[in-house]
Symmetry: C2
C-alpha cells in the first residue's frame, strides 16, 4: 500500500531502534539486572515515562532483546556452518560448536539472558521460542545429514522403551534419524551448553586457562558420543 510510511511512523521506528540499541549496550555492560528504563531514557534525553509510548513495560523490552539475541547466535552458527564442506560432519559439528562459543564468550550478558537463570518475574512469551530454534536446527541437520550418509554409529547404550514417545518431538529437528541417535544428539547438545554456561558464568575461573583448546577437545569427545567417527 503506502510504501513510504508517514513521518511519524518513520521516527517512531527509528526511536524504537535507538531504544533497543541503548538497552543492548546497557545489557552488555551492566547485565540484565542493570538494565533500567530510566537510564535508557536519560541517555536519550527523554523523560522516563516517554519510553512507555514505545515499550509498554520493561519485560517487553527484554523480550525484544531476547529475540534479537537468539537470532544473533542463530545467524552466527548458521553462517559458520554453511562454510564447511558438506560431507565433513565432524568439521561441521566442531565449527558450529565454536561458533556458539565464540558468540557466547563475546556476549556473556546476552548469553546469560538466553541460557542462564530466568529473569525474576519475567515469563517468556511464545515469540521467543520461535527464534530460539535456529541453532538447534543447524545442529539437527548435521546429525540428520551424517546419519543419512551412514557416518553415524549407534552407541552400545540403548535408550529404554519408555522414551519411545518422547523422541518424536526432538526428531523434528533431525528427520529420518532413529531414536538411539536422537538421544545421543540431545546429550551432545546439553553438553555443549553445559560447557558454555560453566565458562561464561565463571565456574572455570582458576582451574582452566586454555579454554578454547579444552572446549575443542571436549566437543570432539561429544562428537564421538554422538556417534561420529573420530
Amino acid at each position: 500500500m503506502t510504501a513510504s510510511r508517514t513521518a511519524r511512523e518513520r521516527v517512531r521506528a527509528e526511536l524504537i531502534r535507538e531504544i533497543t540499541d541503548i538497552a543492548r549496550r546497557q545489557l552488555a555492560t551492566e547485565g540484565a539486572g542493570g538494565l533500567s528504563l530510566r537510564a535508557v531514557a536519560r541517555e536519550m534525553g527523554m523523560v522516563s515515562s516517554a519510553i512507555y509510548r514505545y515499550f509498554p513495560s520493561r519485560d517487553d523490552l527484554l523480550t525484544t532483546l531476547i529475540i534479537d539475541g537468539y537470532n544473533a547466535v542463530g545467524e552466527a552458527v548458521e553462517r559458520a556452518e554453511a562454510a564447511c564442506p558438506r560431507d565433513d560432519f565432524t568439521g561441521r559439528w566442531l565449527t558450529a560448536c565454536h561458533a556458539v562459543r565464540d558468540w557466547a564468550v563475546a556476549h556473556p550478558h546476552e548469553y546469560a539472558l538466553l541460557y542462564g537463570s530466568p529473569v525474576p518475574g519475567y515469563h517468556a512469551p511464545q515469540d521467543t521460542i520461535a527464534a530460539r530454534i535456529r541453532d538447534v536446527t543447524v545442529l539437527g541437520r548435521i546429525v540428520s545429514d551424517a546419519w543419512n550418509a551412514g557416518a553415524l554409529r549407534a552407541s552400545a547404550v540403548e535408550p529404554p522403551a519408555e522414551l519411545e514417545a518422547e523422541a518424536a518431538g526432538l526428531r523434528e529437528h533431525m528427520p529420518g534419524v532413529p531414536d538411539v541417535i536422537v538421544w545421543q544428539a540431545l546429550t551432545a547438545w546439553t553438553s555443549l551448553y553445559g560447557w558454555l554456561s560453566f565458562e561464561v558464568f565463571g565456574q572455570f575461573n582458576g582451574t582452566l586457562e586454555d579454554r578454547h583448546t579444552a572446549f575443542d577437545h571436549s566437543m570432539r569427545l561429544m562428537a564421538a558420543t554422538m556417534g561420529l567417527a573420530q
Copy 2:
C-alpha cells in the same frame, strides 16, 4: 573458653538463623532477584534498618545463602553416593548424578543462584569456592576409584599436547588418573550440569516430558564417554 555464650550472643545467633531461613524461603518462592531485605524485615516484624546489624549488606546475605546451597547439594550427593557398593562405578556415577538432579529440581531457585547467571552486581567472595567443591570431589573420587580398579577405558580421542599443563589443576580431584581420563571426566561433568541448567531453566518445556528417564539415559551415555564400561 566460654562454652555457654552470653545471652546476647545467643539471641543474636538465633536472629541470624531466622533471617537466613526467611531469606531462603523468599529465595525459593521469588528467586534471587526478588529477595528483599525489607521484605525479610517485614516478615520478622522488624524495621528494615535493623537487619543491617546482622548482615552488613544484601550481598553478605546472598553469600550465606550460596554457601548453604553448595553445602546442601554437596551433602545430598555425598550421602547418596556413599550408600552405593564401592565397586559398582557406573551405579555410583548414576546415583550421584540423580542426587544432584533431585536437589536441583527440588530447589530450582537455589540451583539458579549457584549455577545460573551471576547475580548482577554481586561478586562471589573466596568463602564460596571452598564449599563449591564438595560435589566435584565426590564425582572425582568415582573416576579415581574406577581408574585404579581398571574399570575405565581411555577414549580413542587423544587430548592435544597443549592441554598437558592444564590437566594438573583438575587432577587434584582425581589423583592418579591420566590426562585422557581427566578430560573425559570434565566433559561428563559439564554435560551433567548442562542438562540440569536446561531442565531447571525451562529449555525442555514443551519438548521433553519424561525428564527423569531421559536424564538417566543421557548420564549412561556420559558414563560411556567417561570410559566406564556400560
